[in-house]
Point group: C2
Chain length 211, copies 2
C-alpha cells in the first residue's frame, strides 16, 4: 500500500495528519503538481480527477478521495477512533466533515483557483480547461469569512468541531483554516472560540510534530 | 424520529429513495420551500444551512446532511446494505457518492441557482444573500455534461456506479440526473452505458413505486 501525495497541499494534509494521529506510517510517492505530473495519462488512470492524495493498494486498486481513504484506513486501524465512536457520533462527524468541505474547502479553493496566475484555465481540478471567473474568486473570499464565523459559533458550544472528542472534522477545519486564511488574507483573532480551539488543536503532539 | 423533507426536491429524494429501498417508513414533516419556511429561525435551529432533509431524533438532536442521515439509518437498519458490504467497498461507495456530489449535484445546482428568477440572491443555500453569477450558470451546464460523460465512462466497466451492487451511489446518480437534465436541458440518449444503467435502476420496484 502506498500514498501518492504532495507535501504542503491541503487535500493530502487531511490524510497525513490523520496518519500522524493514528501513528500509521505508509510508503509515500511525491507527485510534482508544479510540473503537472498529476495531469499525465498515467496518473489519471489512478485518479480520474487528477487529484492527490491517492491510496494505491498492493493489487493496484486506487482510492482517490481523502474522505474515502480515511474511512478505509480507519477500518484497518480502528484505534484511536477518529471518525467517531458510535453510530450517531459517526454520523455527526460525517456531517461536519462535509460542512467543512462545502463551506471551507470549496470557498478557499474558489478564491485561490479563480484568482491565482498559475491557475488560469485550472479553476477546477482535472484535465478539462476551466476558465477563471473573477466574481467567483471574490465570492470565495467572502464565503470563507462566513465559514470562519459559523465555525466560531459552533465552537461556542463545544470543545471540538463535531462534539467533545477530537476527530477528522478538527483535522479538516485546521487544514482549511491554514490554507484559506493564507489565500484570502483572513485572520482568526476576532473569533475567540475559534482562536482557542486552534491553539488546542495545534498543540497536539502529532500535529506539532508536523513542523 | 421524523424526517423534515420536501417532496420532489433533489436532496430529500436522496434519503426517501434510500428509505424506500430499505423498506423503512418514517414520520415526515413537509417543509414549504416555496413559502420560505426553511429560512425561519425555528428551522435554522434544526439545520444551520436551512436545507432539507433533516432527521430529527426523539431527543431533539438533528442531522441535517443527507449522507450523514443515511449513514445513521444504515447503522439502525443494516439490511439490505446500501453503503457497501465490506471495508473497501464502503470506501468506494463513499468515493463515488462524493464524486457525484462534487460533479453532478454542484454543477446542476450552479446551473439552476445562478439562472432561475426565483433564486435571485439565493445562489447558495442559507440565509445570507448570495447574488447570481451568470458565468457560473453557464459553467454549471457545461460541467453537468462532463459529469454525464464521465459517468458513462465509469459504467462501461461495471453494472452499478460503485461496483457490481446497487448502492446509494446509484440513488444519487439517478437523483442528480433527473434534476440536472431538467435544469440544463441535457439528455442521456447518446451515452449508451448510462442509458442502459438508467433503465436498470429505474425499473427497481422501490424506485418504480415512487410514481
Amino acid at each position: 500500500m502506498r500514498l501518492h501525495t504532495c507535501t504542503g497541499a491541503p487535500s493530502p494534509r487531511r490524510v497525513t495528519l490523520f496518519l500522524a494521529e493514528k501513528g500509521i506510517e505508509l510508503d509515500t510517492v511525491e507527485v510534482d503538481l508544479k510540473a503537472g505530473e498529476h495531469l499525465s495519462d498515467e496518473f489519471q488512470a489512478k485518479s480520474p480527477e487528477c487529484t492527490v492524495p491517492v491510496l494505491e493498494l498492493d493489487d493496484g486498486t486506487c482510492l482517490w478521495n481523502s474522505i474515502a481513504i480515511r474511512q478505509y484506513l480507519e477500518s484497518l486501524h480502528p484505534e484511536p477512533p477518529l471518525l467517531g465512536r458510535e453510530a450517531l457520533e459517526r454520523a455527526r462527524v460525517t456531517q461536519y466533515v462535509l460542512w467543512i468541505e462545502h463551506n471551507g474547502m470549496m470557498s478557499a479553493a474558489e478564491a485561490f483557483r479563480n484568482a491565482a496566475k498559475g491557475m488560469a484555465d485550472h479553476a477546477l481540478p482535472g484535465r478539462r480547461p476551466v476558465p477563471q471567473i473573477e466574481a467567483l474568486a471574490e465570492r470565495g473570499t467572502r464565503r470563507f469569512g462566513h465559514f470562519l464565523d459559523d465555525l466560531d459559533g459552533f465552537l461556542a458550544e463545544r470543545d471540538y468541531v463535531a462534539g467533545d472528542a477530537f476527530t477528522v472534522a478538527d483535522i479538516d477545519a485546521l487544514v482549511m483554516i491554514d490554507f484559506g486564511c493564507r489565500v484570502t488574507s483572513s485572520e482568526l483573532d476576532a473569533r475567540a472560540n475559534l482562536s482557542k480551539w486552534y491553539e488546542r488543536v495545534r498543540s497536539r503532539p502529532a500535529i506539532r510534530a508536523e513542523g
